[in-house]
Amino acid sequence: MEVNITMKSNVLRTTFEPDYLERFHLVLLAERIVADALTALLLINAGKEHPMINKTLRELRELREELTRSTEVGTPVSYVKYALRRILPEDGLPEMIRNLDQLIRLLDGSEKLDDKNVKYLVDYFMDITRKLGEKFKEERDLVLGISKYIGSYQK
């Protein structure tokens, strides 16, 4: 499947065949981004500095840009956005963007955080990755199941 992503963003520029490989990769990608973002949030919450915070901020800003980009005919549609649409309710994308905005503001220090906010955002983004994992469980089984198939064939 083709994905529209530049080297700057988190999206691929290239082809994975068959296309379920791509959906499996999306889950891995989303989990990585969320894991980094939430770790950065915890470090900030503890009042600590770490180089990963800036890296994560950069990545989250690119993701926000991608999610807020127009999807009219003639403009690129990212795979991340497409996948999120599949797991989010009708009004889910704006909520996602709002939470992403808040996460970015907390990480760059433009909004003061409290424990309640931290817990809410952790729960929200963990829930997103859980839903992604459930939605694409079949894809994960297909990709990782192949290893079992080849293993048993060789025996």
Partner: protein, 422 residues
């Protein structure tokens, strides 16, 4: 309550250290592998770079865990009780994410090490790969600073392509400066002993050529998910293009194999792929002159099949498809309708139907093998020799074809060497 008291960080650190050992083990395994792929040294270096990137990621992760451990050691840093579980949850999730990514990477690298396809399949693919590169050079499409991609062909349950270096950098998130792009071609296991299955691998080779050197389709359509009209136009165009160029390379055996083995009337492969009958119809439109020229009822076989099975597709053909295919012809300076040598095919059929080796032209070899096994049959003397044991006859014949592939490639290498010498 400190995080240390539940020892979660210690447990995760040990898991990461164990994963480092698995990576070291895989690095050692690479040292003793002799790859069948071309440019072995570059492949080994790239795989080592990938594993080093994963190692670095793990070492950084361990450092980060130590930082977190230190942060939460002084009483003033202990989070509120209700946040302790949140912190543990995030750290566990983080460790699951990184170990899963590394497990997946090790699975892929180990498949490359242990599951490479036969050297005959490489001979077949390399023959056409270098032909395509030569054509690009001739038409001056190839810029001097192009980074020629590497590829390995791996036995699989599926057919497809995976850009490994891009996967490592962009999905798995391991930082690396690669000198080359390394691609994996997933090749169905059944192809190992059945050379007539090999033409379909050319479709995958052209995917790689397109992504790394041609990039035609993106000049006409926007890349997007296939469930959007734009994405569908892009991905369908790409599939038609790969079929079209595969047929330009190897001739009628490609559409004949689609008809024989891949066609399904109702089941759709995925949104990214147009239906098989439409793919076959496109090929028939562009190559019917060639099918007619070859004879042996090739043209009528395909047309009868299409008459029986063709249904208009759910999505119409991309409107710029003709431009895309024409541009590919121009870039590669390729036209099998004109260049196909029917006399050479006849000569190959004559040799092979008597079980005599044929080593000159790969395209003639494969089409002759198809025509003998599916249309014309073997020489009477050969049939008598095998006394009606068709299974043994075909098995021996495909061994012969595999040997001929290797010899065709050796001959091609020798000719390449001679032309460079001049």
């Amino acid at each position: 309550m400190s995080l240390g008291s539940v020892n979660i960080l210690g447990v995760i650190k040990n898991r990461l250290i164990e994963t480092i050992q698995h990576i070291e083990h895989t690095k050692n395994a690479i040292k003793s592998v002799r790859f069948r792929a071309d440019r072995q040294e570059a492949i080994i270096n790239t795989l080592n770079n990938i594993l080093d990137a994963a190692l670095n990621e793990l070492l950084n992760e361990i450092k980060l865990l130590e930082v977190i451990e230190n942060y939460f050691q002084s009483p003033s840093d202990i989070p509120e009780e209700k946040l302790v579980n949140v912190v543990k949850q995030v750290i566990e999730f983080r460790s699951k994410s990184i170990t899963e990514r590394i497990d997946y990477l090790l699975y892929i690298v180990n498949r490359i090490i242990k599951e490479e396809c036969s050297s005959e399949i490489y001979s077949f693919v390399n023959y056409y790969w270098w032909y395509l590169i030569k054509q690009l050079n001739t038409s001056q499409t190839l810029s001097n600073n192009i980074r020629m991609p590497l590829f390995v062909i791996v036995k699989s349950a599926i057919t497809g392509t995976v850009p490994l270096t891009e996967l490592v950098e962009q999905i798995l998130g391991f930082k690396c400066n690669f000198s080359y792009d390394l691609w994996i071609i997933e090749c169905p296991l059944r192809a190992e002993r059945y050379p007539l299955e090999w033409p379909i691998i050319l479709h995958e080779v052209i995917h790689i050529l397109h992504e790394t050197m041609l990039n035609i389709v993106s000049r006409y359509y926007i890349r997007a998910p296939a469930d959007t009209p734009e994405g569908r136009r892009y991905s369908h165009s790409l599939e038609y293009l790969c079929d079209f160029l595969a047929t330009q390379l190897i001739g009628p055996i490609y559409p004949l194999r689609i008809k024989d083995f891949y066609f399904m009337g109702e089941y759709k492969i995925s949104l990214t792929h147009p239906p098989w009958t439409e793919r076959l119809k496109v090929l028939n439109e562009y190559f019917s002159e060639l099918f007619q020229k070859i004879g042996y009822d090739v043209k009528s076989q395909i047309e009868v099949f299409l008459n029986e099975h063709y249904k208009p597709p759910e999505f119409t053909r991309p409107d710029r498809l003709e431009d895309i295919l024409n541009e590919a012809v121009k870039m590669l300076n390729i036209n099998i309708n004109v260049s196909f040598d029917v006399k050479e095919l006849e000569y190959a059929i004559q040799r092979l139907s008597k079980f005599n080796p044929y080593t000159k032209d790969m395209t003639a070899l494969f089409n002759a093998a198809y025509i003998i096994t599916h249309i014309k049959g073997f020489d009477d003397e050969i049939k008598r020799y095998f006394e009606g044991n068709e299974q043994k006859l075909l098995s021996e014949f495909f061994y012969l074809i595999s040997d001929c592939v290797r010899l065709c490639y050796v001959r091609h290498l020798f000719e390449r060497f001679l032309s460079q010498d001049q």
